[in-house]
């Protein structure tokens, strides 16, 4: 199987999941109930002549404003016309009008959106501008002009409403097409000689149609609202029974005959509501949701059947250790239930010691340190027999007490520098804010401390850096800023999660060296998570090897390197050596991209890369 084959297969699998959307919709109570009501309403409209008890325009002045009775189930209006019959015929006109509007909007909006997204270039720019312009025009004014000019031609008015609904379809079709176009299988299809038309009809339209269906449910509701609004303003043929016109009459007689306003309002409200609920259900089913795990401290939120014995041991006495974790278990809520990803690990780090946790993606190493920090994502929860951080036993601590340890006792250096700085604030603000709010420093003092740590991590122009926004500095500089932020509160334990993985090889060594220096200078315990034995060899005193949520091997670095007991450890060491070579080539390529001005594109891709890493770890 070639790479292309796999991608095409993957694409097919994705589409199969999508086609399941409508089947799931029919099983969901938010799907079949409103759909059933809507189908009924449509049937009432279609079979109006058979269902209506009377001619909707039959005037019987004797029955004027008659209350509900056997002859007129819902009463009669001011000229004695049967309200129920008018309501039934009004359904017909409402649906006919909405249909005209939607067909107009889809026929103009979807092809232009697909073309704009697929071909981009000048057509895209012009179409975007026209779409924005259409959205900037108060449609009702234009509708009134058209109404005046066309002597209230209903079909023409509904087409005009449709034109104002075009931007909604255009935008959705365009953005779906843009995102599909980025997919590698589209390139594969193009290379294999498919024409644009074939690619669009085979691949793009499949991605475009589910959101178009959702948009249609919403648009139909809006179209009916606009239509009734126009009729309410008195625009339309007075011989055609419509809900809007009935509402107008009911509104005029509201004080004396409120029921006359009630019936058409209920009909319109119900129809729009079921459409909205259908759209919302579809939208909800179309997006994959991450479930949330209720955090119950002390209580065991552990997956069923997860009773594997704890792995790993402690090296130091409880008093002598800066960090000590016993039988830590981490669980995540997934769509298929709660899954335990860390199966009871025990480890400790002494003050001034450097310990590495090594393992491949999904080994649970990051989940372990996030539990120590109490920064698991919302879907995760952890339990442990004991977690001691700088002398505090925190296993029963409240979230607030755990938060109080952050910054003071625990410093954290993340993996991906560019996505770990808030893009909207200056770097200075992000360094100064914790110093003021957490460490209680005055403004000038916090600023001085921020400058000092920036200088310490090797940034020679701290004032310029502090004024800069994250997108204005390089990845290496951003990582130094993050290290500065982690140490600015003089923590006793520094936790670094793959601190060099996202950096250029040349910068990697410098950052490791810096971490080592700072660890010695501050006398911190350093817990460093990595998949790379090279990092371990460079900096660690001791190493813990994790696999599948368990500790499989641990020991001092030198003996473990010389005589790894587990085949898995041997594989990891070998992979790190290969990796060092492969990585060097990769970096060379990456730098040439950067030199040719590709920075912004890479930066934009970076957070996504970080997110992928996290999800893989969660899934395992």
């Amino acid at each position: 199987m070639t790479t292309t084959d796999i991608r095409v297969a993957f694409d097919r699998a994705k589409q199969r999941r999508r086609s399941g959307l409508f089947r799931r919709f029919l099983r969901h109570p938010g799907g079949y109930i409103p759909l059933g009501i809507f189908v009924l309403i449509v049937l009432v409209g279609v079979f109006a002549p058979l269902l209506a008890p009377m001619d909707p325009n039959f005037v019987d002045l004797a029955a004027a404003k008659a209350p509900p009775s056997a002859a007129h189930l819902l009463g009669a209006d001011s000229t004695g016309r049967d309200i129920l019959s008018r309501l039934i015929y009004g359904t017909r006109i409402t649906i006919w009008g909405a249909l005209i509007t939607i067909v107009t909007a889809v026929v103009i909006g979807v092809p232009s959106g697909v073309a704009a997204g697929y071909f981009r270039g000048p057509f895209d720019r012009v179409a975007m501008w026209v779409s924005d312009a259409l959205q900037s025009i108060p449609g009702m004014i234009i509708l009134l002009v058209v109404a005046a000019g066309s002597r209230n031609n209903f079909e023409l008015l509904m087409v005009t409403v449709g034109v104002f609904m075009v931007p909604g379809y255009f935008r959705i079709a365009r953005s779906q097409t843009l995102s599909v176009r980025e997919e590698p299988y589209i390139d594969a299809a193009r290379v294999s000689g498919l024409s644009d038309v074939q690619i669009i009809s085979r691949h793009v339209l499949k991605a475009v149609y589910p959101p178009v269906i959702i948009q249609t449910a919403l648009t139909a509701g809006m179209a009916m609202g606009m239509q009734a609004g126009l009729q309410f303003l008195g625009i339309g043929d007075s011989n055609v029974p419509s809900w809007g016109a009935m509402m107008l009459e009911g509104f005029r007689l509201m004080l004396t005959y409120p029921l006359m306003l009630l019936w058409p309002s209920v009909a319109l409200g119900l129809t729009i509501a079921v459409l909205a609920i259908m759209g919302s259900t579809l939208a909800e089913l179309a997006q994959v949701r991450t479930p949330r795990l209720r955090r119950r401290r002390g209580a065991a939120a552990v997956a069923v059947g997860a009773t594997a014995p704890a792995t790993g041991t402690v090296r130091h006495t409880a008093e002598g250790s800066a960090l000590r974790v016993e039988n830590l278990r981490v669980s995540h809520a997934t769509p298929s239930g709660v899954v335990e990803v860390v199966h009871g690990v025990t480890l400790d780090v002494a003050a001034g010691e450097v310990v590495g946790i090594v393992g491949e993606s999904g080994s649970g190493k990051s989940q372990t340190v996030f539990s120590v920090l109490d920064l698991l994502p919302a879907s995760g929860a952890s339990t442990a027999d004991s977690i001691r951080i700088a002398g505090h036993d925190v296993v029963t601590a409240t979230p607030k007490q755990r938060q109080a340890l952050l910054g003071r006792e625990l410093g954290y250096v993340p993996q991906e520098p560019m996505s770990n700085l808030d893009p909207s604030y200056t770097i200075g603000h992000q360094l100064v804010e914790p110093l003021r709010r957490v460490h209680g420093m005055s403004g000038p003092k916090a600023k001085a401390r921020a400058r000092e740590v920036l200088l310490r991590v090797g940034l020679t122009d701290p004032d310029r850096i502090m004024r800069s926004y994250p997108h204005q500095v390089s990845g290496g500089m951003a990582q130094r800023v993050l290290i500065a932020g982690a140490i600015s509160g003089r923590p006793t334990i520094l936790v670094a999660d793959e601190p060099t993985t996202a950096l250029d090889v040349t910068v990697q060594a410098e950052v490791l060296e810096l971490l080592r220096e700072l660890q010695q200078e501050y006398g911190m315990a350093l817990l460093i998570v990595t998949h790379n034995f090279g990092v371990v060899a460079d900096i660690c005193d001791r190493v813990i090897v994790m696999r599948g949520g368990e500790i499989v091997e641990q020991g001092d670095v030198d003996p473990l390197f010389a005589h790894p007991q587990q085949p898995y450890t041997r594989e990891l060491i070998a992979a790190s050596l290969d990796d060092a070579l492969g990585r060097a080539e990769l970096e060379a390529g990456r730098r040439s991209v950067l030199d040719s001005g590709g920075r912004s594109a890479l930066d934009a891709a970076d957070p996504a890369a970080g997110a992928t890493t996290n999800t893989t770890e969660v899934r395992a």
Binding site: P138, I141, L144, G149, I272, A273, L406, N420
Partner: protein, 313 residues
């Protein structure tokens, strides 16, 4: 920043010109014989011809266009075909009414939309989030005038808390002015509240999952302070919707003003379209677009302030 502003301003002017010109021709092509609408069906052909000469529609369309456009550039909207008063002067009376309803509605939209969006975004999945979502799905879809009717029936007719209809000048009674605007503003705002809160909720959820949120928390910052960072990064989505809503409110105001008998441009539009009063309709269109352009410009400034990347670009 200067270049950015100039670009946006230019884009706004282009929009204004294109829409004005398009509306001019649309109106003149759509309303073929305005004299019939203006004079009613009983007028004689001679009367119609006299009126046609008076309002100048016996001239070629392009001449009429140039006459109208060259005056418009100097700020002269022309004269109403209905009562021969300057369009500008009548707009000056009607626009403040609509603007006060729309501004009031926008304020409600912004305050409630941001509050609900924040709460449901940060507490997504809780019962409050789910109830609000259920209610909002339906509220968003219902047209403003439908909500108006329900509000009038309930609060004005049943409970008599607010005047059912009518407008009070702020100079007469400030309290009465607010009361006369409350129901129309609420009915206009409800859909917007829902749209803004939904957008903000999704943006807040998306931003809460960003890596930098975890890093900020790791520094020991309180949840409240971290939420401020999340809100600032999530707000562009909500602000964009608020600006879009403003356009929708101008449209919605036309029907809602009718219901509440507010003497704003909504009622004026309806009357003018039925009378075939093209200069008035064009004046209303131009003024509306000017407001839209101003709102979009304000939005761009705020977005630039929130997102430093926009400012640089």
């Amino acid at each position: 920043m200067l270049l950015f502003t100039a670009k946006r301003l230019l884009s706004g002017v282009v929009l204004l010109v294109v829409v004005s010109v398009a509306t001019f021709f649309l109106a003149h092509l759509a309303i073929k014989d305005p004299t019939a609408a203006l004079l009613g069906t009983t007028a004689s052909p001679a009367q119609q011809a006299a009126l046609a000469t008076k309002i100048g529609i016996d001239r070629p369309l392009l001449v009429q266009f140039w006459d109208w456009f060259s005056h418009l550039v100097t700020g002269d909207f022309g004269t109403s075909w209905r009562n021969f008063q300057p369009v500008g002067a009548q707009l000056a009376i009607k626009v403040p009414v609509t603007l006060s309803v729309v501004t009031f509605a926008t304020l409600i939209t912004a305050v409630l939309g941001i509050a609900f969006g924040m709460i449901t975004g940060l507490r997504s999945g809780t019962w409050f989030d789910r109830v609000l979502k259920g209610v909002s799905v339906v509220l968003f879809a219902l047209p403003g005038f439908w909500v108006s009717l329900v509000l009038v029936l309930w609060f004005a007719v049943q409970l008599k808390w607010f005047p059912a209809v009518g407008y009070v000048q702020p100079s007469q009674s400030f309290d009465g002015w607010i009361r006369s605007l409350t129901l129309p503003a609420i009915s206009l705002a409800l859909g917007g509240v829902v749209a803004v809160s939904e957008q903000l909720r999704n943006a807040v959820i998306a931003q809460s999952r960003q890596d930098w949120v975890r890093t900020l928390r790791s520094r020991g910052l309180s949840p409240a302070r971290v939420n401020l960072h999340i809100l600032r990064n999530a707000s562009p989505a909500a602000l964009t919707v608020i600006a879009l809503m403003f356009v929708g409110l101008l449209s919605g105001a036309i029907v809602v003003e009718q219901i509440f008998s507010l003497p704003g441009i909504g009622m004026l539009t309806n009357q003018s379209s039925q009378n075939g009063d093209i200069p008035m309709l064009l004046g209303i269109t131009v003024v509306s677009i000017v407001f839209v352009v101003i709102i979009n410009l304000l939005l761009d400034f705020v977005l630039g302030w929130i997102n430093p990347k926009v400012r640089v670009a």
